[in-house]
Symmetry: C2
């Protein structure tokens, strides 16, 4: 465009900021792009910030100084989060999801890009205050939520695998034990996928006793990495937990295969200070 009016600037700046969460954009970049004074750009940013805040969709953070600029910090308000998760609870309560062996069919939910995107936004909002270098998950079902979360945090996704693959190069491998202690599996993470002493957010689709999440802790320990949080979509009742602190979006209260009944509730993420 040759001439950028305020209205056109607002549309374009909103787009640029929203599609690049956490990326610091210098004010001069905007000023040059729109042939506008920095003071005008600042006024535009104030408008965008006000609208985002009013609707619970996050805010703009301005960093002063020569290396400064503005960036979009995504968020989700309690009402919006509640709306998403209540919808999820409803869909999960459908008895047709019950599979032989007492499993729940989740693939349609994990393939629903709109839902997955919102779940990612919730995790990114809850954990976004902390410095996060990477989001770790395990193949296969956790990948979409981990990816959505990482996109909102502008962090890379790192995927641990149950089977060693030649395409991963050298790997670090640990043993994981299922909650019942009956089954052992090896979990591997490519050596070059994570730097030493990274700060890592763990995200997965499902947790019962937490053997898989425990395995991820053990893997991260080998990288001298620090776990800054654990987010799971669905937690199931367990006699004992191998993981202390985690945030769940949804919890299964009861799953009766014979009576074909599933009872699902809001997860503990709604007990957090920000949303309680």
């Amino acid at each position: 465009m040759d001439k950028w009016k305020r209205s056109a600037r607002l549309v374009d700046m909103t787009r640029q900021l929203l599609v690049q969460p956490y990326r610091l954009i210098p004010l001069t970049t905007f000023a040059e792009r729109y042939h506008a004074a920095k003071s005008s750009i600042s006024e535009d940013l104030d408008i965008i910030d006000e609208v985002l805040k009013a609707e619970g969709n996050g805010e703009l953070e301005t960093v002063a100084g020569a290396a400064g600029g503005v960036r979009y910090i995504p968020d989700i308000g309690r009402d919006q989060a509640l709306h998403v998760i209540q919808g999820l609870c409803e869909r999960l309560s459908n008895p047709e999801r019950i599979l032989p062996g007492g499993f729940l069919y989740l693939s349609d939910l994990l393939g629903d890009t709109t839902l997955v995107n919102e779940m990612g936004r919730i995790f990114a909002s809850v954990f976004g205050g902390k410095k996060i270098d990477a989001v770790l998950t395990v193949e296969t079902k956790g990948i979409p939520i981990a990816y959505a979360t990482a996109a909102y945090l502008r962090a890379p996704v790192v995927i641990a695998r149950y089977d060693y693959r030649v395409t991963e190069g050298s790997v670090v491998t640990v043993n994981t034990v299922s909650g019942s202690g009956k089954r052992m599996r090896q979990l591997s993470l490519s050596k070059r996928s994570l730097s030493e002493r990274s700060r890592v957010l763990i995200v997965d689709d499902f947790m019962k006793a937490g053997g898989t999440v425990r395995g991820m802790f053990d893997l991260l320990n080998e990288f001298n990495a620090e776990v800054v949080g654990v987010g799971v979509m669905l937690e199931a009742p367990a006699r004992e937990r191998l993981v202390d602190a985690y945030a769940s979006l949804v919890q299964v209260r009861e799953l009766d295969v014979k009576e074909r009944r599933v009872q699902v509730d809001l997860g503990n993420i709604f007990n957090r200070e920000r949303w309680a």
Copy 2:
């Protein structure tokens, strides 16, 4: 907000449209939300449409009538796409990616949410003109790109798996043959993950002879589904292809393990009419 000025409306409408590609939003929804006349909303939409088009970021499509409204059709201009893929070529040409056996390390690229998001936008732009009911990929590495593509198309992601899992319910299974014809693997897809006669876009990270993609064709055949396109991130040289038509972002010309040299070029997606 109590009072919505045009500037605030533009920011909020841009956000709503961008985060929900392909979703038809009735003009009355906007008119009620902002307490504004439909004529004002139409003027706002014209501004947004103009800015999106000018920068090659897609456009707004207005559907007339009682069930009408407006929706965002994402796109990416040739220059932007070229910029993304040239950057990808550069990163792929690093000889440190060469793994024993002549494989290339790709996990960091597939974990880079910004890059993956742009690759998804490219596939969505190229195939978005067609009606697409689902995006199909195979575990594990294709999932992020498939997810990003599907998010831009507002379509669900469906994941075929090499090993049958109890959490998938009943599945359909086919045999796949590697390009060399030496190795057979079973590929399964949950029966309830796809409706009969769906129109499906196949997306994967890597293709050599195309045995895996061929397996996805065979799977889809069992669902009486129709393949509307095939998109792969990386294609490698092969003596024979099991797949006729596909769009690749990048092609490996040469990989010399001994000399530690990788030569990578733009994929055939840039030969398409829209970008040639």
